[in-house]
């Protein structure tokens, strides 16, 4: 893997023209929220980027993240960029397995110690490290060991970034995010379930050209996760006008109205879905008629139900309300009866006095 050709050579063999490459650089530049004047710099940096060794660790995951990045409509330049890094270890993609694969990882670590990029997908179980092992090594140990020599870590997918589905209530394996374990290395979170392929490659490209991108409070690159879905949603005019789909096949659904009432989490979700879209810019979930699940946010699995509107309480509040009616009625009755009894008692205890008595006592 170490002798992989550089990007220009790979483009030639894949029939990608320089023009197409520059176009890609331009869109990447705007995607990364850089000024258009940076395009030549991005192109040059990409062409001559020293190919860092990349070690990709997959822990408790569903392979959706790897699927997403490898099944982007190929052959795209993103693929080539992805391929141009020296992917020295990825146990789903590499041919070797078990101890042979581990040997490759150890070799790559030794050769590039302190310089390689560590990509992680999947969460790490810490309740019992035995829940998830590779070649007999627990995820926890492997992460700690591999992170020690990494220049930086990219947590790909919501599982690695925030714990994801493994971390969801009741979290039987004690799944945690990479950042809960590794605290002394720069970590870039690229959440999404799975993340958009071009966002993953965009972050890799940014890392190769300009280093670590600017991150938000949740460790996400601001360029891709700076805006909410709701703010960039093409259905927003319907939201503003108060026009909502009430079911998945009513007039509103067919008319492309807002999906808020069907549980859309767009207002609290930050991602590039509404602008970059999926499948080479074909569409994104809301465009396909499904509400946003909020998959780039921590704990989105536990947000009270994918089809419950954001404004609806997440608990079993109706039962609570009924109990409160019964309880309130009982206490109200008791308190009223008590006051009545008190009043009756007071009336009974009332002694009648006349002016003579009063004079006597004073």
């Amino acid at each position: 893997m170490a002798n992989k050709p550089l990007l220009p050579e790979m483009m030639k063999t894949h029939g990608v023209s320089r023009r197409a490459f520059l176009k890609y650089c331009a869109s990447l530049t705007s995607l990364m929220a850089l000024s258009p004047a940076m395009v030549p710099r991005v192109a040059k940096a990409l062409e001559s980027a020293p190919r860092p060794s990349v070690i990709w660790l997959s822990f408790q995951e569903c392979t959706g993240c790897t699927e997403s990045i490898t099944r982007s409509h190929s052959p795209t330049i993103e693929d080539l960029i992805f391929n141009s890094v020296s992917l020295d270890y990825h146990h789903t993609l590499q041919a070797a397995s078990g101890h042979a694969a581990e040997a490759a990882r150890e070799q790559a670590m030794k050769d590039n110690y302190g310089k390689y990029l560590l990509v992680v997908d999947g969460s790490i179980p810490i309740k019992d490290p035995g829940y998830s092992c590779i070649a007999g090594i627990s995820n926890l140990d492997m992460l700690k060991e591999t992170a020690a020599g990494a220049a930086a870590i990219v947590s790909v997918g919501t599982c690695a970034a925030y714990g994801g589905v493994g971390h969801a209530n009741p979290n039987p394996t004690g799944a945690v995010a990479v950042s809960e374990i590794i605290t002394d290395k720069p970590i870039i979170n690229v959440p999404g379930c799975p993340p958009i392929p071009v966002v993953m490659t965009g972050v890799l490209a940014h890392f190769l050209t300009f280093g670590i991108p600017e991150l938000d409070a949740l460790g996400r690159p601001k360029a891709f996760f700076g805006e909410s879905i709701h703010d960039r949603c093409y259905r927003r005019p319907f939201y503003d006008k108060g026009k909502f789909a009430e079911s998945f096949d009513d007039e509103g659904a067919r008319g492309g109205w807002c999906l808020y009432k069907l549980g859309c989490k767009g207002p609290t979700t930050h991602s590039a879905c509404a602008t970059v879209k999926w499948n080479n810019g074909v569409s994104f979930p809301i465009e396909a008629g499904h509400p946003c699940l909020g998959c780039t946010e921590p704990d989105f699995w536990d947000n009270g139900g994918f089809y419950k509107p954001l404004s609806v309480p997440s608990g079993d509040y109706r039962k609570m309300g009924l109990a409160a009616i019964v309880g309130g009625a009982a206490i109200g009755t008791a308190s009223a009866l008590l006051s009545k009894a008190g009043k009756a008692k007071a009336v009974k205890a009332h002694e009648t006095v006349n002016a003579h008595d009063l004079e006597k006592s004073s």
Binding site: A177, L218, V312, G328
Partner: protein, 221 residues
């Protein structure tokens, strides 16, 4: 890694709402039971008019100002109307609120657009400010005002202001502002049965009592 804003929102949508709901509903029912069981002493004098009908009439007639009073206290009346109608519109015609009512009771109606909701909300807050101002400046009203009144004014203003800020992303993280909005509503719900806010329910009973007592004595309302 957690997002404190998201966690707060989930708390406000979950346990926070449940607690507020139990106190709100339980408190209202409790007070209604108390009021109606305690009742009033029987009036043994022969009736000179129909207390029942006059009672019913008073429930509505007291919503219309008596002649000359609007001129006498314009801020109180106009501000009061704007606030009450505005609060009603902002609450019952904003889509996310309708979604909640739909979920709870299975009934829904068309939502108003953003322009209406936002201008109404702004007007409502202005009305509240005017009402508060008049309480500060008018010596009579000032001396009549208790802590309870200021608390109730604040508790009614906060959901309007935070809702406006959250929807328009004026400042703060939008998820956090949404959580704060829910928390202010929950504060309002908790205070409701035990402050003057309760008038939104008990006005029916008190107006009926007043109207029927006077009606029995032969006074028209």
């Amino acid at each position: 890694m957690n997002n404190p804003a998201f966690d707060l929102l989930m708390w406000a949508r979950g346990p926070g709402f449940d607690i507020a709901l139990v106190i709100f509903v339980g408190g209202i029912v409790l007070r209604l039971f108390e009021i109606s069981i305690l009742g009033r002493k029987r009036d043994l004098a022969p009736a000179k008019g129909n207390g029942f009908l006059q009672g019913l009439k008073t429930i509505f007639s007291r919503s219309v100002p008596r002649e000359g009073l609007v001129k006498f206290a314009p801020v109180t009346y106009i501000g009061g109307y704007v606030f009450h109608i505005g609060f009603f519109v902002a609450f019952f015609f904003f889509a996310p609120h309708i979604a909640l009512i739909d979920d709870a009771f299975g009934i829904s109606w068309p939502a108003a657009g953003r322009v209406i909701i936002e201008s109404v909300t702004a007007l409502t807050v202005l009305a509240l400010l005017a009402l508060t101002y008049s309480r500060f400046t008018d010596p009579v009203r000032k001396s009549l005002t208790t802590f309870d009144d200021y608390l109730v004014l604040l508790l009614s203003a906060l959901p309007l202001i935070t809702g406006y800020v959250a929807v328009n992303k004026l400042f703060g993280d939008p998820t956090m502002m949404l959580a704060v909005h829910l928390l202010t509503v929950e504060a309002l719900m908790i205070a409701f049965p035990f402050t003057k806010l309760m008038h939104a329910v008990s006005f029916v009973l008190s107006r009926y009592y007043n109207g029927s007592i006077q009606g029995r004595k032969g006074a028209e309302s």
